[in-house]
Every structure is written in C-alpha cells, then in structure tokens.
Symmetry: D2
C-alpha cells in the first residue's frame, strides 16, 4: 500500500496585497473632485458606507490581494466558477506528480443534509456514519494512489495516470482578486444569518472563504464593516 | 461490486446558436458607416480576413453558441479556466447522485510523453502500459463508486460522499460563448502544425474542442477559414 | 452656418436574439439532472422565481440579444462602463465623418436637480431655463460643426477635427448581451419605486434602458416578471 | 468670453503598484512545484521568456497598477473599450462642474492622414492647417463653455448643461490593471515597427500608453523586455 496523508483543513495565506480603505475613498471622490481627488484627511467612513449600501461597486476594485490556497480539488472546482476579477494559477496534474494528500471530514463536519434542494441544512452525523465514511475514503485513496504510482512507474504520462485521483486530492493555487471580487466570493461562499440574500455554500469552500475574510477585515476595516452591516451584498 | 461504465469519448452537441459571418461584417461596418451599417450585398470575405489578420476582435462577439458537453471532470477543470466570454452550468455533485461513468483511454490514445515541459510530445503506449492502466483505472473506479454508494446508503450527504470520486468521472455542462471566445478556446486547446503560436493541449479537451470546431465551421465558414489561414490566432 | 439636426429621442432596435425562459430552466436543471436536463414540459415559473430570488445568476446567461442603439455620445460614455457580458462596436470618429445630429432636451425633460449628491431628484424647468438651454446648445452645435467641416475641408484628419464635436453628438453602436447582463443594466439604469437598491440614472440612458426592457419582457416573460417582483436586483 | 485653458499633453501618474517579475515566476512555477513554488533564487528570465513567447498569459495577472490619468474625453472613450482586467473611476459631468480645459494639437502633431482605412499613416500638417484648426477649436471651446456656464448660472442641472462640452474636454480617471491587461493595452495602443501584429492607434491615446509603458518597464523589467522581444503580443 502507498502511504497516504489525510487532512481535514485548508491553507490560505496572503502572499501580497495592496489594499486600503483610502483607495475606495479617493477613487470614488474622483467623480466629484476630478484631479483633486487624492487621499486626504477627509472622513471616509460615511462615504464608504454610502457606496456599499447603494451598490456603487467600482471604487472597491482599486485594491489587490494574492492568496496561496491549498485545498481539495472539489473546492477548487467551485472556486474557479468565479470568473470576474479573479486570476488563477494552479498546480498541474499534467506537469507535476501529485502528492498523496487527501481530504477527509473531521468529526465536527456535519454529514447529513436535511430539507429540500436550495434550502439544505446540515446536521451532525453519527459515529457510524463518520467511521464508515472515513474507512471508505481511505480505502479509495489508497487504491487510487497505488494505481496512479503504478502507471507512473511503467512510464505512463502523468496527465493520463491522474485520471484515477479523487476530487478529494489536495492542490495548491495562487489566486488574485480585488476587494469587490473578494466580497462577491464571501457573499456567495459563506453562510451567515441575517444577510440580504441567503447562501448555502459547501462547508469546505466556506473554510477557505472565512480565512480570506480575516485578511479583508485587517486590510480594509471600514470596507469590511460596511459590507457586514449592509447585508453582506457585494457592491 | 458496483456496476460501472467506462467510456473513451466525449459528447458535444450544439443546443442553440445565432451566428453568421454577416454579423461580423455589419458590426465592423458600423465604425465607418454608422446607422447605415446593415447586412447587405457587400463582399464580406475580404473584410473578415482583414479583421482576423489584424486582430480586430470585437466584431466576432455578436454571435452565440450554446453547447451541451459530456466529458470527464478533468476536462471540465481545464475548460472552466476560460473565463472571458464563456457561461457555464454544470451537473452538481452536491445536488445530484453522480452516475458510475468513468473515462479510460482507448487503445489509440498516446500514453507516453517525451521531451521536456512546455514541449511535450506524446507517443503510443505498449500493450502492457495500456492494459495495466486500464486495470488500475477500473479497480479504482469500482472501489470509489462502491464507497460512494455505501456512504449515500447510510445517509451521508452527496457533497461529502463525492469526495472519493475520481476526476475521470463524467459530468455534463451547458457552455455558451461567442465566436471570439470560441476561437480563443480552439487556439489554445487544439494542436495543429504551422500555427502562429504552438499549443500542447491534453488530448481529451482537444476532443471536445474539435467537435466545437465543426459547428463553428458550419455556422460561420468565412470566419472559420480566415481563422485557419491566419495562424489560428484568436482575434 | 452648417445645417444641423437636433433630436430629443433615442433609437433601440433588436437586431438578433436567441432567448427564452426555457433556456434558464434547462441550464439550471443540469445541476440536478445532468444529461437529462433538456427542455420539457416541466413547470418553469417556480424554478425561475427561485433562481432570481436567491441570486443564482448563471442560468440567465444562456441567452443572447444584439441591439442597434443610436443615442448621444454622453449616453454611450455611461453605457460602456458595463464591461461584463456586453460586446460593443460603435461608429468611429476616426474613420467616418460624423453627421450633424445633436441632442437637445425636449420640453418635458426635467432640467433642475434638487437634493444632494447620491440622492438627486429632478424637477421641471421653467420656460426660460428651457429656451436659454436650447439656444445655447444650438449655438454651440453650429459653431462646433462649422469648425469641424472647415478642418475637414482643408484636409485635416477626421480624428483631429472631431475634437470640437460635443458629447451631445449622436452615435450608433451594436451592443450584444445576455439576459443576466441586460438585467444588470436595467437594475442600474432605470429608476423605479420599491426596488431593493435605489438607482438614479441620467434620464437619457434610462430611455435606452426602457426600450431594451420591452424586448426582454417579450422574449423572456417569466424571467422579466420575476426580475420585477424580486426588487429588480440582477441575479 | 469665458477664460479657457488649452493643453496638448496628457498626465499619467502611478498612484499605487504591487508588481514584480518574481510574481510571474512563482505563479507559473505552482504548475510544476505546487506548494513549494515560492520566490527563490531561481533564474527567472528564461521562464518569463518562455511564458511570453508561448502566450501563457495567466502568470502575468498577479500584479497590480493604479494610474491617475488626465486626458481628453475622446481618449477616455477609446480607453474604456478595454473591458478585461481594467477597473475605472472617472470624473463625472453629472456630479462635478467641469473645468474649462481643452485639447489642441501642438505643432508637431501630424494632422494629415494618407492611405486607406485600416492602414492610415499620418504626416505633418501645414502652418495653415494648424492655425485654422487651432482657431476653430478655440472658437468652439469658448462658445461651448460660455453656453455651459450660462446654463449652470440659471439653475440647469450639470448633467444637462454638459451636453455642449466637446470631446476635447479634459477629464481625470483612476485606472487599475495587471501586467497582462496593461500589455494588451500597449499592444493595441502603441505603434511600433516590427511587431507581430500592426496597430494604428490615435496619437493621443498612444501618449497615455507610452507613459504607462515606462512604469511597466521600471516595475517588471524582465517581463517588459520579453514583451518587446517577442513582437509586443500580449501573452
């Protein structure tokens, strides 16, 4: 048996950033002040709240974050549906031998879905459900990785051999965005009470989103507060 | 053992389209003719060739294709990196129990990669390479689908259970585009001699691209010819 | 004096379209039905309302409209800020001698703005305000077009001579979009009571948007109704 | 007569940036190195040249530039046709009284266009052409701004009064982009000999592009060199 590694978490690290609440303010003020619209001592909080509440989105685009994300492929599949204001480069199964690292839910991950499509809620699984799931997953991951390595060993191309690898396989990407596209992701990929529009993300992509949210709050606290206070609607 | 189905091909069907060479011509002519720029008896071939050769891309955007594509997940992973001018809706492993249909290479699929990264060439595999690969794939697919069904049977949510499914699992999507975004895909995802820029796509996404190419040629023959005659560079 | 033409209206004509409520339904159903998600006798209204209300936007993208729009340049300046899901080709002052057609407000166009930035309301102008405005506009348009023609007559390039032309000059463009990007425009460029988010568009771009709205209603009546009934928020 | 100001130049200032050749290298290396793809002592020049030459564009997107640009409206009209990877906020004639600053060509600006559409070349104008143009422009700008101020003085809304202002009126915007979208602009909006695809930009937008090009060269010298050495094709 190949030695495999299992994980239940995700990594999100901010690699580079150039972001500030001031950039929202001076880019908005160019509308009314033209060339004079520079960062100054103006009170920005009221302006940023006005922009967020009324969905004037473009001033939130003059900001920049690059994250390195390590997460299962099924998370990346959802993530890359975000097309606008996002740039991606990901580890490639065509060019790199993939490592034997696979996702398993930890004991706290709710396993059972109740309710109907579009309004799913998740509740805790039983011990039996948890252990049967973990066992089935590990058995599959070992079988898959053994087949993968066997194909590589006899000279089959990586892009063919990877067919067997499960969507639970961990991958790594660099993802760049601006504050507007980041809030769009947060709006759709986190579940919070009392938002203007409800979202029911899969827990694993929400874990990635929550880690990104911490960086947004740190870099642009006024923007972040007004986002939360106005129903978490991306402007 | 669960009964599984293996396939080596992909399905691409044109579901709806509104595309013509005339739309390229009248949208380009609005530059020089304004309101009078309508579809008329003008000679369009020369104009379309000029636009393609000089990379005036926007006139190729007033066209519309929707395809239904059935292909392995690893193909969809590459496909959805095309962000601009493409719209997607795909079968969801969160909402639907996925069918036990998986990709295996047929005997003709070159299995061995020679050369260095960025300039890979593929050559035929041996019988041994082929049969060991097929055996390892089938064994993995059966193990994975058995684990998947077992989790579903005991009440685990589909979105958790699908973790075990391989990237070889078939999925279906609707994908809409215009002629410009379609040519961008063809430029990057087909390998042809004598193109202005070389591309080294994985064979399986090239199979999807080749089927789309037939529809482009049928709907917009002048556009297609000038694309091929000018190095297959997307305008 | 050059003979000039003044107008107070805009033209919007639907040139080509491939749009239906069914396309929303079958592209959404692929999530849960996979390959079987085709247009059938299903009840679509409830599904479309669910998608609109919960802001599942992508199923509204598999649709296509091309409009020919004739309107003043200051309208086109605002219109082309819509980047996503819109394709444009416009009459060019570099390649075509522009016609002497210019915008003037008709007597009903509210001329006076009250309230503060971000919450402007417009009220009717007096006869004096109207007639002084019209006179100043006509005087400027004549002066500008005379200078334009004089430069052209002595051999100055069109792209230089057009510098003098006012933003009231009429231009023509082809603009293509899908139902989602069209609803985004309508949401921002029409002013209606009781919408979820308020918009304060300039009246002249609203006139363009209102004419497009009629075509959306005709082509996709369920989509249109649910858009209006859910606060006119683009999904 | 209103006092007007005329200019023949444009302003481009880099307001904020987070850009480096290293970001191209580590984002590309994630394909082959996964999590280990970090900025290190590797030789980057060869890799960047490979990416540029073969049009692997995405690694050039993890970079960020915000410019403040002051230029005539007719330049902004062309600039904002660049939809992808560009964010804009511009001075608004709806919310701000516009200043009386207008473009006139300086004596060196070639005024006469020879050749046919799509292959225009520009040659120097005569003194007569120059002075008649300047006179016609100034006469129009004064007439227009006088009418503009008269309307404002009697209480007409700014958004109506601005109708008379010429496309030569100066405006200011903040524009953010990444290195890939910036190279796309440079490719189309500068005219150079020996490029893979020819471009025939209007001189005034080329002046903006040239000033941006200096900032790209300073921030990402390897990227810039390979761009120039590979035909100035945006990757």
């Amino acid at each position: 048996m190949e030695e495999i590694v299992t994980r239940s978490d995700v990594d999100v690290e901010l690699i580079q950033s150039h972001s500030s609440d001031e950039s929202v303010a001076w880019s908005a003020r160019v509308s009314t002040m033209g060339e004079q619209a520079q960062s100054d001592g103006h009170e920005n909080a009221g302006l940023i709240n006005f922009l967020m509440k009324n969905r004037h989105g473009t001033p939130f685009e003059h900001s920049f974050f690059t994250f390195r994300v390590t997460a299962p492929i099924f998370v990346f599949r959802e993530f890359m549906r975000h097309r606008i204001g996002w740039s991606y480069n990901e580890e490639s199964g065509r060019y790199k031998e993939l490592d034997p690292v696979f996702y398993i839910p930890d004991r706290d991950r709710p396993l059972v879905q109740v309710g109907k499509a579009g309004h799913y809620e998740f509740v805790e699984g039983t011990n039996t459900q948890h252990y049967i799931s973990i066992a089935g997953m590990k058995r599959t991951y070992e079988t898959a990785y053994e087949a993968y390595k066997e194909m590589l060993d006899i000279g089959v191309a990586k892009e063919v051999a990877r067919s067997v690898l499960p969507v639970a396989t961990y991958s790594t990407m660099y993802a760049s965005c601006n504050a507007r596209s980041l809030m769009s992701l947060l709006s759709l990929r986190t579940k919070r009470n009392m938002t203007t529009f409800p979202s029911y993300p899969q827990r694993e992509i929400e874990m990635v989103a929550e880690k990104m949210e911490v960086y947004l709050e740190a870099a642009m606290p006024m923007t972040y507060d007004t986002f939360c206070n106005n129903g978490r609607v991306s402007p």
